[in-house]
């Protein structure tokens, strides 16, 4: 465990480079996913470890929980991987503010996780190694202060640190403040360490972002970096051949019950305006294909709607092609996959267009109305709106799903998965509320 102050200075094989990076990335992503469940303290720790074990990250878990060091060699190798992967991901996540923030927050989580596994002596050792020396509060001072504050007790050891380094404790009024200094106990010192860790990281990342172009020369490294800088796993939606088809006649009911908001919106638009702009056509057609609507049905259904405003022949020429193309029956005959949330969310949407993700692209009023129409309670609506406001679109969508289906909490990663999960629940294939420790749908 370390604060990554010194960059690695050893040779590594390319495979080691790649695998250790991938491993750390998925650790961080796992933490992120677990965070969205809103657990605290020990529950959070257990949930994270459980998930990591499921993903076969035993090397990592073992290092965490090991009470005695395993074989020195394996331990050393693991440390090396840890050290290196941290620095590689720094580069992968340095280029935008959003990524930097995500990376820092997750690395801090990871540190917290590890800190939870340290024993008192190890913590002291850690502070010594990292030269984290803080002023302690003298006995006289404690006596004086305990006079007007029952927060300070003379029998406990206190450190005096600038308030800004423990601002989280300040916010919760968990510390005593005097003239800019906070009096903190041994236990709380971890927040001080984290603050400085966070600041150092943030500084290094900004610095790295200015230098990253120097790395362009090595293609292989560049590819790893590019691939690694994603805060969420991208989700591929495989269309299972032979999956039960969807009867187009039920499409309106299905839409109300099981479409994610992004598709609901397009569907409604199609029904009311009898027209869709290009991006919406694409997003929707891929989705329909994904849920198992046959190509002919899609064409017929769209022709019927579009036909209210345009000549059917024209429709076949202009839009029929797109549908066939989407289904892989025309043009390059490429089997396009339905878009995942990341893709939907990252599209740009101009006024008047209806594709994209409502949680990201709709303003709060419109969103609110949509949520209300879908029968969410006032509190539910607010909860979802808050997540969306904080740019957690998929979390917002997960909450929405949870409320609408009375299911366990989840994060949505793919509109089609949304649909499938919804169908499963409604058909009773899946328990509505899962037992604790059940799987999350990722």
């Amino acid at each position: 465990m370390q604060l990554y102050r010194v960059p690695p200075d050893f040779e590594v094989s390319y495979t080691e480079f790649e695998t250790s990076t991938a491993e750390r990335l998925s650790i961080l992503q796992t933490i992120d996913e677990v965070n969205s469940k809103g657990l605290k303290g020990d529950e959070w720790r257990k949930a994270v470890i459980e998930e990591l074990k499921k993903q076969d990250m035993r090397g990592f878990c073992k290092q965490l929980t090991a009470t005695s060091c395993g074989s020195a060699e394996a331990d050393f190798a693991q440390r090396r991987r840890d050290h290196m992967s941290h620095f590689v991901l720094r580069l992968a996540f340095c280029d935008t503010e959003e990524k930097r923030r995500w990376f820092i927050a997750r690395e801090v989580d990871l540190f917290k996780l590890r800190w939870m596994y340290l024993r008192v002596t190890e913590k002291a050792e850690f502070m010594k190694i990292n030269k984290l020396a803080y002023d302690t509060v003298s006995h006289e001072e404690k006596i004086e202060l305990s006079g007007y504050s029952d927060i300070v007790s003379p029998s406990i050891e206190y450190y005096k640190v600038p308030f800004a380094s423990v601002s989280e404790l300040v916010r919760a009024r968990k510390v005593f403040l005097k003239k800019g200094y906070a009096f903190i106990t041994n236990e709380d010192i971890v927040s001080v360490i984290l603050t400085s860790y966070r600041m150092n990281l943030s500084r290094s990342l900004t610095f790295a972002s200015h230098k990253i172009h120097l790395l362009d020369e090595d293609d292989r490294i560049f590819m790893v970096l590019k691939g690694a800088g994603r805060t969420r796993r991208s989700v591929d939606y495989e269309i299972v051949p032979g999956a039960e088809g969807i009867d187009i006649k039920n499409i309106d009911t299905l839409c109300e019950m099981s479409f994610p908001p992004c598709m609901q919106k397009i569907h409604h638009r199609l029904r009311t305006e009898h027209h869709l702009k290009h991006s919406a056509r694409r997003q929707y057609a891929l989705f329909l294909k994904g849920i198992g609507v046959a190509m002919e049905d899609t064409i017929a259904f769209w022709r019927q709607e579009f036909g209210k405003k345009m000549n059917p022949d024209k429709f076949d020429k202009e839009h029929g092609y797109l549908i066939r193309h989407t289904y892989g029956a025309a043009g390059k005959r490429f089997n396009y996959r339905p878009m995942d949330c990341l893709k939907v969310i990252s599209q740009s949407v101009s006024p008047g267009e209806c594709h994209g993700c409502p949680f990201r692209h709709d303003n709060q009023q419109v969103l609110k109305k949509m949520l209300q129409q879908n029968g969410l309670s006032v509190i539910g609506v607010q909860e979802v709106l808050d997540s969306a406001k904080n740019n957690h679109y998929q979390v917002a969508c997960g909450k929405y799903f949870q409320l609408k289906h009375d299911s366990d909490s989840t994060v949505i990663t793919h509109p089609n998965l949304y649909f499938d999960m919804s169908r499963d629940i409604l058909k009773g294939k899946m328990p509505k509320k899962e037992e604790p420790g059940g799987k999350i749908f990722i």
Partner: protein, 455 residues
């Protein structure tokens, strides 16, 4: 002295104000933060609101002259002050590394947030009665900033209509991250959303944080005068009902109601009822449940603890109306006031634009006519009732300037100690020092410091 002011004359008088009264020089001294910070003023975002609600952001001015000329030319109805960036906002905000470098920690307290606990006025109106709530707020926040956070340079300014702003200008405050700002603001924001008993203050029964204890003490001094009497909180049926509800416990409610009914008919005032309530709580002390331990304190906090608009404090790039602006509707100047004497500050007596301009003219006419040419040299604001606000501003500036001097001495001292103590240095404190230097000097001032000690 407060004459009539009508918003119609605003656009007529404003140019005169900017020409003769706006204190450019002290204003510039403040926002430059000393001779060492050469770019601080030039990299500061200012924004102007022009007539017709035209809002121009990302203005910046290289020199005081530029600023003065532009202000006089455009005559903005409002000037907002934003953050200091790492480059000049007017040219560079498109470059990718355009970032906030520093910004005062600011607080905004507005009377409209008190509507639930004041009975004398509502909305945009204020009177001296409800202003006392702001006075209490100012005292509480100012004390906390000074004693808890150790901030020395706090500038309190009347916001021109119905609130106050506080600018904390210490170096440590200016470099806080948005997160840290939010945390400080939340520390000071004691009140929460109403609970089921319509109470906004909840103190955990284990312990009362010393800062809350202090706030309660400050409130207690004036509570009867300002809230019980001034706001007449128990003088109406709704008021009584609200307080009863807050007791959160039926037996307490009955006891209190009984005590109120037992009051003689000629002493049925808000104050009488309050005293009766205090007596009931006193007597029941030993019967109170754990969560009722601080009931009385909570009620007082509910009615008088500061309502902060913490969104304003959170963002480092948030804009806030500059001191010495004039409020278009009231014509009042946003003058600094002394938080320690905030009880004496009367917002209804703040001079309006019309007053000020009349005052200059009168002064000029009298003295100049009398041939006393030397008076011409007197700064115009000294001829007016803005004088007092300016004195407070000058004092704030003096203290700030003192601190630059002593800081310089301290930093020099540190350098020397470092070189002298070099026989027992180790790598890590070189590192720390290097970091310190690198951030504070190289990045901020564009000076490169090389270290040869490493070898």
């Amino acid at each position: 002295m407060v004459g009539s002011y009508s918003p119609d004359v605003f656009s007529e008088l404003l140019p005169v104000y900017y020409k003769r009264l706006f204190p450019y020089e002290p204003f510039y001294r403040w926002l430059s933060y000393g001779p060492d910070n050469t770019n601080t003023f030039a990299n500061r975002e200012m924004s102007f609101t022009l007539p017709g609600d035209v809002y121009i952001r990302y203005q910046s001015f290289d020199t005081i002259k530029d600023f003065e000329q532009e202000v006089q030319k455009k005559c903005p109805e409002k000037i907002d002050i934003g953050a200091v960036y790492n480059a000049k906002p007017k040219h560079n905000r498109m470059v990718s590394c355009f970032e906030v470098e520093e910004k005062e920690l600011v607080f905004d307290i507005d009377m409209t947030d008190y509507d639930k606990v004041r009975t004398c006025c509502s909305g945009a109106d204020i009177c001296i009665k409800c202003w006392h709530l702001i006075t209490i707020a100012t005292t509480i926040i100012d004390t906390a900033l000074r004693d808890d956070f150790g901030f020395e340079h706090r500038l309190w300014v009347f916001s021109g209509r119905r609130g106050v702003h506080c600018w904390v200008c210490d170096q440590t405050a200016r470099v806080l991250t948005p997160n840290q700002r939010a945390h400080v603001a939340e520390y000071l924001q004691v009140l929460q959303n109403e609970d089921s008993n319509c109470k906004t203050a909840r103190i955990p029964p284990e312990k009362m944080h010393p800062s809350i204890r202090r706030a309660v003490d400050i409130i207690a001094k004036d509570f009867v005068e300002v809230c019980v009497k001034g706001q007449n909180i128990l003088g109406s049926v709704t008021g009584m009902k609200t307080v009863l509800k807050m007791l959160g416990d039926d037996s307490l409610r009955q006891l209190t109601e009984a005590a109120w009914e037992a009051l003689p008919t000629d002493s049925q005032t808000s104050v009488d009822r309050w005293n009766a309530l205090v007596a009931v709580l006193d007597k029941q002390q030993s019967n109170l449940k754990r969560w009722q331990r601080y009931l009385l304190e909570e009620i007082m906090l509910h009615f008088a603890y500061p309502r902060l608009d913490i969104e304003v404090s959170k963002g480092a790039n948030h804009l806030l109306k500059s001191p010495f602006c004039v409020h278009p509707k009231t014509g009042k100047v946003c003058v600094p006031f002394n938080p320690l004497a905030s009880r004496k500050f009367d917002p209804t007596a703040v001079p309006t634009l019309s007053d000020l301009i009349e005052e200059i003219q009168k002064f000029d006419a009298e003295k100049v006519k009398a041939g006393e040419e030397m008076y011409r040299k007197i700064k115009d604001y000294k001829k007016t009732s803005m004088y007092k606000g300016m004195q407070i501003f000058e004092e704030f500036l003096r203290n700030l300037e003192e601190s630059w001097k002593s800081k310089k001495v301290k930093e020099e001292g540190m350098k020397i100690i470092f070189y002298l103590g070099s026989q027992n240095y180790n790598r890590s404190n070189i590192h720390a020092f290097h970091n310190f230097f690198f951030q504070k000097w190289s990045f901020r001032k564009g000076v490169r410091c090389r270290f040869s000690l490493e070898s």
